[in-house]
Assembly symmetry: C2
Homo-oligomer: 325 residues x 2
């Protein structure tokens, strides 16, 4: 049994996508309790849910320091509602910076966690499965000790979410050989290697991240963010050119029909909506950030990810793992 | 008139690709003198060139500290030959680390240059042209002053190579707004802004790098390298899936014929061989690094890039620009 709070207003599409996601999720998981936060009148057609009225919607470009002053916003009210309603977690499609700030300041770090990390799954383009990368942007600077702990949190996450007993951990670097890396990476390397709880296999280059060579990839928040956005940009740009190639003339349009199946596999792989968004790990709640442009299906996957993590007791597992350091 | 030294042995394909590249280049540019460095017997079929015999080939994984001890290697001999033969530049497809180390230590920094940078061109997937990104990996850590100077060197480079009068300069960051960035980026931002020789437009996210929003993108060598390799990895992985989609069945294979033209545009855009490889900027020679897996055509483009830069007097322009700081 789990209980989750949903910020219904944060998405680019307003409450429509969130409402569809909630309907889909509740049909599939009637055992999970959802608490909805948003403009009450807009949510009136969803019956049978606890609703917390929030008149304001946080703008996407809200400054990080302003966030906590926006107490009437659906985002801050949703984050606060976790403790108030005894929920396990919270989902929002609102501003990443604002959501991470609110979740860190209001839900607070798990005792022993040095720094929460934003986690996201990168597809393996040469096979099945995912690489779990952290941090992809909760911080813009980290210490070596924080990086080493990301290795542990990522390991615990992979064990819970994917059932991988000994997740292969690698450190993002500018070369795959030992001894490569930024000064920070070089400092973190021996710490990761020394931690007997980790199956640490050394460095990995960004060019190999989509090749299935690691289950957990440790990065500082700044480089992890650069990597995430580079891959997103390349995927988007190439998809655009691909579309153009098929739209060129009647024959190319026709030929699309014959490769549609294969292209769907490519599209699904590169579709962040399928993976349920990103997750803030290391705070006292399951915190899932859905994409800003989430549709109903994306919302559904985000809620489902949060539900799975809540049921698996991820927060408790991280707390126990970090305490045994 | 220019004179260039070619390391004939560094490529994964041995001297074959380099030899083809030399033939193609000399046919197109008979006015340029080429000095060839490699195993004399392997180069015997190329007539009319000055050849410097180099019995050894540097291994790709040679340690940076070992490089200069490998005096008999074609790479070190080629780099040394620049000054010895009065050449303008040198081209190699050998180990990037070894080549950069040798070029920096032997050809030396231009007076006033704080740190040489590895430069590469990223395609604009939504239109024409390129973004010139530096540093993509000559350093693994930089100072804010070095980043600011990368903005200047990139500007001078774009003016010479692309004839862009006021290249749009942006700083790689984790957000496009002012005030975003790593601690280093935040320190470099005001320096870039204060330099009146630059058309500095602020921050850029990695997701926008392929969108034609900048002519010059300044990055520290570590993040620039992560970005370069992320894009390479995504391009390679997606191309692989695309190929699979077309190879699925007879109809999908047939349909390839009708989109081939459009796909060629995509392929050409993402093909690093067309852009002539990467360039080390800031040393007293034109230093072009061809891809390790260069074929004859890629070698040709790399030599042509070096030739263009030599004829444009890039080294002298950088020296003058840096001196006027």
């Amino acid at each position: 049994m789990s209980k989750l709070v949903i910020d219904m207003m944060g998405s680019d599409l307003g409450s429509l996508a969130a409402k569809e996601g909630v309907r889909l999720f509740s049909a599939a998981h009637p055992e999970t309790t959802l608490v909805l936060v948003g403009k009450k009148e807009e949510l009136a057609d969803l019956t049978g849910y606890e609703v917390i009225d929030a008149p304001d919607v946080l703008k996407m470009d809200v400054g990080v320091l302003e966030v906590l002053r926006k107490k009437g916003s659906s985002l801050v009210k949703a984050v606060s509602a976790v403790a108030l309603t005894g929920a396990d977690g919270v989902i929002s499609a609102g501003s990443t910076g604002a959501f991470l700030t609110a979740a860190t300041l209001i839900n607070k770090k798990i005792p022993g966690v040095l720094r929460p990390a934003l986690v996201t799954a990168f597809p393996n383009l040469e096979g099945d499965g995912f690489a779990t990368v952290l941090d992809v942007g909760a911080s813009n600077a980290n210490t070596a000790e924080e990086l080493a702990q990301f290795g542990l949190m990522g390991t615990l996450y992979c064990q819970e979410v994917y059932g991988i007993e000994k997740p292969r951990v690698r450190l993002l670097s500018n070369g795959s050989e030992d001894g490569k890396g930024s000064p920070l990476g070089k400092e973190a390397f021996p710490l990761l290697k020394a931690d007997k709880r980790l199956n640490f296999l050394g460095n990995i280059e960004a060019s190999a991240v989509l090749k299935g060579q690691a289950d957990v990839i440790v990065a500082d928040g700044y480089s992890g963010n650069v990597m995430l956005k580079s891959l997103e940009g390349a995927a988007k740009g190439m998809s655009g050119l691909l579309k153009k190639a098929f739209m060129r003339n009647p024959l190319s349009k026709l030929s699309y029909l014959f490769v549609r199946g294969g292209l769907k596999a490519l599209k699904d792989k590169m579709n962040p909506k399928k993976t349920g968004g990103a997750l803030l790990i290391g705070v006292n709640a399951v915190v899932v950030k859905a994409h800003g442009n989430s549709d109903g299906e994306a919302f559904f996957h985000a809620i489902e990810l949060a539900d799975r993590l809540a049921k698996a007791g991820l927060v408790e597992k991280i707390a126990a793992g970090v305490a045994n350091g």
